[in-house]
């Protein structure tokens, strides 16, 4: 993961539940010192999902949270096409996740860049196309 880069690819290499995925992703960022308390960040993502699910297309979800434990804001593009995750009670199978982890003191210009990126996802084709191809091992965190 390049320092300062906002977008990071993640490749899911096994069957995971939603909760397991949050834990593993946050743990991976914790290992890289981007999150101070991975379990707090995972709980924040889960809490957001509990309030309302974050599906943005039939197969893409956008979990997000803003927390003190996030040291550097990140957009994680999680490709789980090979191991889709059962997302909700209706049985939606999610193949890609756009996880937004926002630092409490994120600089304004960074927030604007993230906002611009999110607005593009209002087009379902754009959101789905993010996960059409798998990222390479060199470019991604594997979980």
């Amino acid at each position: 993961m390049k320092d300062g880069q906002e977008t990071q690819a993640v490749l899911v290499k096994r069957h995971l539940t939603k909760q397991q995925l949050f834990n593993r992703v946050c743990q991976a960022l914790g290992d890289r010192a981007l999150i101070t308390e991975p379990e707090v960040a995972a709980a924040a993502l889960e809490e957001r999902e509990r309030l309302a699910e974050t599906l943005i297309t039939e197969s893409v979800a956008m979990p997000h949270c803003q927390s003190d434990v996030v040291k550097q804001s990140k957009i994680l593009l999680v490709n789980c096409k090979r191991y889709p995750i059962t997302w909700d009670a209706a049985g939606h199978q999610v193949e890609g996740l756009v996880i937004l982890l926002l630092a409490k003191d994120a600089p304004q210009d960074q927030l604007l860049r993230i906002t611009d990126f999110v607005r593009q996802l209002a087009d379902n084709d754009v959101a789905d196309s993010l996960f059409e191809t798998e990222p390479t091992a060199a470019d991604s965190i594997e979980i």
Binding site: R48, L51, A52, E53, T54, L55, I56, T57, E58, M62, H64, C65, Q66, A89, A90, L100, L102, L111, I114, T115, V118, R119, L121, A122
Partner: protein
């Protein structure tokens, strides 16, 4: 006895509700006991499995579990309904079929045993059906007559046809292509095709288009007419004293009515009296025919006065200024055939009646009040609520067009995630809304006063402590259901801001 199934009707009723409904209300609608409603709910929930499809809340009633039934394509719902169907008839559908059969042969009687042979119900059920059927028929001045083992329906021919029309219920049919899939009553395919061709040919000859719902009204009238004559011959003809008579007749429409009648005679091998030609003419005259208005005679002064009166009275009742110039031409075009319908007892069913009542309650009530006054002032027959609902649409449009745009706030937990996504989707799908800001829940809670001017909030998460400004919680998918919920609030607030 065949197991009578209220499950499907119960599901249909629940799907029409926006929130909780009591078992008592459901039992009244379904004409069964509350116990039967509860039994049906248990049966449905057992059939479809967990999670429950119908949930109950103490003190509130029952509600459809939308998260269980929610599916963009409706597949889940269909699946659930299919499980419940079991090819059985509910009591109301059974009674409907019995009435339709008796009405088509009225005044002739049918052996009761023969009438009920496919339903396998007991004498007490039949006796109960008779009571309910009689209550229903009473609305039309008709009565069920029981002599020995036979039953018949007695009453005026016009009332018989109106009752058949209501029971046939073609109100959901906007396109003739859907006539078989949407009608709950079995229709004769050959007759249906003949009547559709007849109407299409009439439109071609007149170089006009008969708009919905008048085309369906005309269809229904001719279809019923053919089948009345076929079943009971001249006993199904209209009495001479019910022959309508418009003073100024449009020659083109009159000729068209004569051609239609002649073709019906040839098709059904019947002789139609002059009364039927006159009635078909009145149906044509009562339709809001497009492309013909510029060829017709001067609009009657009465229609202009009544339309003008509607504008004045509704404006006064709603305490708003309605631009007469904007609304009057269309309103006059509606009132003119409406007067004809009223004079001739032609009922134009308004499929949107319930929706209009719900979405524009103040406008609808004002129009109904105005209708009452106009009935008296112009000595008109009673103006049905369906007609008032049609008129309400013209006023709703005028009110909406002159309303100030609604200001909204979009929120989510961070103000960056789903909220920003929604900003784009709302702008694209509801461009009439002015988005004042996109905020996080925290931003909103801290700066609440700053947003006191917004009309409502669209949020992807509930905002629990908001008591003043309406909050619509939607999914980030921004489904059709979400958009409908927003439109409902827009409609409600648009009325309220005036």
């Amino acid at each position: 006895m065949v197991k009578t199934d209220i499950n499907r009707e119960l599901m249909n009723l629940l799907y029409q509700q926006d929130s909780y409904v009591t078992a008592k209300k459901l039992s009244e609608e379904l004409e069964v006991s509350p116990k039967t409603v509860y039994r049906a709910i248990t049966h449905i929930n057992e059939k479809v499995g967990a999670p429950q499809l119908i949930t109950t809340a103490k003190g509130k009633g029952v509600e459809i579990n939308r998260s269980r039934s929610l599916n963009e394509s409706g597949q889940f719902v269909q699946h659930d309904l299919a499980k419940l169907s079991e090819d059985t008839l509910s009591p109301s559908k059974r009674r409907k079929q019995v009435m339709i059969r008796l009405l088509y042969v009225s005044p002739r009687a049918i052996d009761v045993q023969y009438l009920y042979e496919h339903f396998y119900v007991s004498d007490s059920v039949i006796s109960n059906d008779e009571k309910i059927i009689n209550q229903w028929l009473d609305r039309y001045g008709l009565r069920l007559q029981r002599t020995n083992r036979k039953a018949s329906i007695q009453g005026d021919e016009l009332a018989v046809r109106q009752a058949i029309s209501v029971l046939t219920d073609l109100t959901g049919i906007i396109d003739f292509d859907n006539i078989f899939s949407r009608s709950e009553v079995a229709l004769n395919q050959v007759d249906v095709n003949f009547v559709i061709d007849l109407i299409r040919d009439a439109e071609k000859d007149l170089e006009i288009e008969i708009p919905y719902p008048y085309d369906v009204n005309l269809f229904s009238h001719i279809y019923i007419l053919i089948n009345r004559y076929r079943n009971v011959g001249q006993k199904g003809s209209l009495p001479a004293n019910q022959v309508p008579g418009t003073i100024t007749q449009n020659k083109e429409l009159l000729h068209c009515a004569e051609v239609l009648s002649h073709r019906i005679e040839q098709y059904a091998h019947v002789n139609l009296p002059q009364a039927e030609i006159s009635f078909i003419y009145e149906y044509l005259e009562s339709s809001r025919i497009t492309n013909l208005s510029d060829r017709t005679e001067v609009v009657p002064q009465r229609a202009i006065l009544i339309a003008d009166d509607y504008v004045r009275q509704v404006s006064r009742l709603l305490q708003i200024e309605i631009d007469g110039k904007a609304i009057l031409p269309d309103l006059i075009n509606h009132v003119r055939p409406m007067l004809n319908r009223l004079e001739n007892g032609i009922h134009a069913t308004n499929e949107l009646l319930e929706q209009i009542k719900q979405e524009y309650p103040s406008i609808f009530n004002a129009v109904c009040t105005a209708s009452l006054k106009i009935e008296q002032d112009y000595e008109l027959p009673k103006i049905p609520v369906d007609e008032s609902a049609f008129i309400s649409i013209y006023f709703a449009r005028a009110v909406e067009q002159s309303a100030r745009p609604l200001h909204i706030l979009i929120a989510c937990t961070t103000g960056v995630g789903t909220a920003e996504l929604l900003r784009v989707k709302v702008s694209k799908n509801l461009p009439e809304l002015v988005i004042d800001d996109v905020v996080s829940m925290r931003q909103y809670q801290v700066n609440r006063e700053q947003y006191s001017g917004v009309d409502f909030i669209i949020s992807t998460v509930p905002i629990r402590d908001e008591q003043v400004i309406p909050v619509i919680v939607v999914s980030a998918l921004f489904s059709t259901r979400d958009q409908t919920a927003i439109r409902k609030v827009v409609t409600k607030l648009s009325g309220a801001t005036k």
